[in-house]
């Protein structure tokens, strides 16, 4: 029995495209963002029944009302992003920045709360130093455990680091309830009425410190990834484990070392939260971790580009929050929708940068000849 087989050539052929010029790629991304803004505009128009241009203008206005907060939030998001990019560059999916920062912050808060109680004569400098060390240690533990299991047993790091977040969250919850005798589940501002022990002194205002740290870390990470031997090894392991082994790199060591670096940065961030930004710990502290993954990915793991992407996301967030209060929507939620929609478009447009689509018009004539 002969089955009748129709010859069907697919309409188009998709192949990988390595050589998209920078300008064209940028143009595609800008088009995607414009398309997203159009959709957001239409959506806002339906919901708010206002001219979308007006909405965008008010968004712009609103974002810059509190410039210091805008910059501080950018700085915090940026540091989060810096913590994950070395791992991502290595194709190690570290989704655990949330938990790493929480663990660090928790350790710092613990020092801040209990050391002055036990040793009232402790000097503020020493306390701050101990807080920093404790925070970094805790963060490193949180990041290195999944790294070790990945290196030696190839344990799925995405799932492991994800779970570490929730262990940290639950631990924070437990500690807060244990430490806070009122049972409110809210630690309050630590040492506010206790001589502000463990508070890092403000440099002219309370925002600048985070911004300075972010700038320094960005510069460090840029140099580390681009110009150091370590950075070279990280890129090489991400590029091809086989080639890395071929040139004699100890891949296990690189994985563990790189995650320790991520832990270090998360530790610094946790310390900043405890000592300068919030002086307390709650679930919000690690909340930017997932956004940071998006920001890092959007910047293609380049720390300088991440300056832009993290600013962009914080700007959107602040702007849409302002819009939603201005037009009596409710705050955070509208911002989440806006950020989500814009991301969907940007994520989708990467396809048109990474792949080439060829339509098969001329091939048909070839096929006809075959059947002669």
């Amino acid at each position: 029995m002969q089955t009748k087989i129709a010859r069907r050539e697919p309409l188009f052929h998709i192949s990988k495209n390595d050589a998209m010029p920078f300008g064209k790629a940028l143009a595609i991304r800008i088009c995607a963002i414009l398309a997203a803004l159009l959709v957001v505009g239409i959506l806002s128009m339906i919901l708010i029944k206002e001219n979308p241009l007006l909405i965008y203008m008010s968004m712009f206005e609103g974002a810059f009302i509190d410039v210091w907060t805008l910059f501080q939030n950018t700085a915090l998001l940026l540091i989060f992003g810096l913590a994950v990019i070395p791992a991502f560059q290595m194709k190690f999916w570290n989704l655990g920045a949330n938990g790493q920062v929480l663990a660090g912050c928790l350790a710092a808060i613990a020092c801040m709360k209990f050391l002055p109680e036990k040793y009232p004569e402790i000097s503020n400098t020493v306390l701050i130093l101990i807080m920093a060390i404790a925070s970094i240690l805790a963060s490193c533990i949180w990041s290195v455990v999944p790294a070790i299991f990945k290196a030696y047993f190839n344990t799925n790091e995405t799932l492991f680091t994800l779970m570490m977040n929730y262990i940290a969250l639950a631990l924070v919850d437990y500690c807060v309830f244990t430490w806070d005798k009122t049972g409110s589940g809210n630690l309050g501002i630590v040492n506010l009425l206790n001589g502000r022990k463990g508070w890092i002194p403000d440099i002219s205002n309370k925002y600048i410190l985070s911004i300075i740290v972010a700038v320094v870390l960005t510069a460090f990470m840029f140099i580390y990834m681009k110009y150091t031997k370590h950075g070279f090894e990280v890129s090489l392991v991400g590029e091809s484990v086989n080639t890395a082994k071929y040139v004699g790199i100890d891949v296990k060591k690189v994985i563990i070392r790189t995650l320790l670096l991520g832990g270090l940065i998360c530790g610094i961030l946790g310390f900043l939260y405890a000592g300068s930004v919030s002086h307390t710990i709650n679930k919000e502290v690690g909340g930017l971790g997932f956004t940071a993954i998006l920001v890092a990915w959007l910047a293609n793991f380049d720390s300088l580009v991440m300056l832009l992407t993290s600013f962009f996301v914080v700007f959107l967030d602040a702007g849409s929050k302002y819009v939603s209060t201005q037009f009596q929507l409710n705050s955070n939620d509208y911002a989440n929708i806006v950020v989500g929609i814009i991301f969907f478009f940007v994520i989708g447009c990467e396809f048109f940068i990474r792949f080439k689509i060829q339509f098969n018009n001329k091939k048909t004539s070839n096929n006809e000849r075959v059947g002669e």
Partner: protein, 316 residues
């Protein structure tokens, strides 16, 4: 006491079970969908839409049916979006999933505040809660087995059907082959993209029911916007790993996870902080399962081999 803990554990666990079964389908197709928490929120919103639209205009059975339908349509659409981005457009699964979660949480909170009418929702919630009308029975066996709302039974039925589907049906076999080795599936003529679309969407639709269940049954219509549905979603993702991608184990695991998350409220003799420690155990258990299965290298407890990796035919 024990009966009441078990009954509550089953009811709490049902939220996780929906999310978990949905995620199992997705992961069996080789996709790690971190958007499940968001999808559960979207499912909750879909159900809420149905309730606020149809409300008292239809009889309770029809209302339950319509809200289930709406919930699945909404969350299924979110699953479609995820499939389109990750299957057709080859986007990074983690990034897409996390974005979907951000979006979904915002979506729920934004719309639920517009459509939520507490009085209406609370008054309609009994339709979801007491399938056999035996809720107030004092017999422990009746309490454990027959006192729940319709969605609890639907969850268990879905778990059983999923297990049969994955292990005993041809399509289930094909689906598993795609998560393990899409190139092999492709080579024997299975339509890899179609399967991925269908089962990611179906999985999302199932997960969405978890959201509906929470607002209408578990919380008796008292909350939407404040609901921590996304955190239940993460628990569901954890349960997938802890149950080693097996729906029946997931059903058992959901009761354990459910139990651990309600124990704090049940154990009044404990201090508040001691109660809180129970929240760590589900995740700790998950990590232990994950680590042990990778150390032992047992093939039957591993994640699908191609989980999280894009499949592009010309890469083979």
């Amino acid at each position: 006491m024990f009966t009441s803990i078990l009954v509550n554990a089953i009811r709490m666990g049902t939220i996780f079970l929906f999310g978990c079964i949905g995620e199992i389908f997705t992961e069996k197709a080789g996709h790690l969908n971190l958007g499940i928490p968001g999808i559960m929120c979207i499912g909750a919103t879909g159900g809420a839409f149905a309730i606020s639209i149809f409300g008292t205009n239809v009889n309770s059975a029809l209302l339950v049916f319509l809200s289930i339908l709406f919930s699945m349509l909404f969350s299924g659409a979110a699953g479609m979006l995820y499939s389109f981005l990750t299957v057709s457009l080859q986007a990074n699964q983690n990034v897409t999933g996390l974005t979907l979660t951000t979006f979904g949480v915002g979506f729920m909170k934004f719309f639920s505040k517009r459509i939520y009418d507490q009085k209406l929702f609370v008054s309609l919630s009994p339709a979801f809660q007491n399938l056999f009308g035996l809720k107030d029975s004092t017999n422990p066996l009746v309490q454990i087995f027959l006192s729940h709302g319709i969605l609890v039974y639907i969850a268990i039925i879905i778990a059983i059907i999923s297990s049969l589907f994955l292990n005993k049906s041809r399509s289930g076999l094909y689906l598993r082959s795609i998560g393990e080795s899409p190139a092999t599936a492709d080579a024997v003529g299975i339509n890899v993209s179609l399967y991925k679309y269908v089962y990611i969407t179906l999985g999302s639709a199932i997960a969405g029911l978890g959201g509906l269940y929470y607002i209408m049954d578990r919380s008796s219509g008292t909350q939407i916007a404040e609901a921590a549905i996304d955190s239940f979603g993460w628990m569901a993702v954890a349960l997938v790993i802890a149950s080693m991608w097996k729906p029946l184990l997931a059903a058992v695991g959901s009761i354990i996870f459910g139990g651990l998350s309600i124990l704090d409220a049940m154990l009044k003799t404990m201090s508040l902080s001691e109660q809180k420690i129970f929240a760590i155990f589900p995740y700790l258990l998950t990590v232990i399962v994950l680590v042990l299965s990778s150390v032992v290298k047992s093939k039957n407890t591993q994640p699908p081999a191609h989980l999280g990796l894009p499949y592009f035919r010309e890469d083979r």
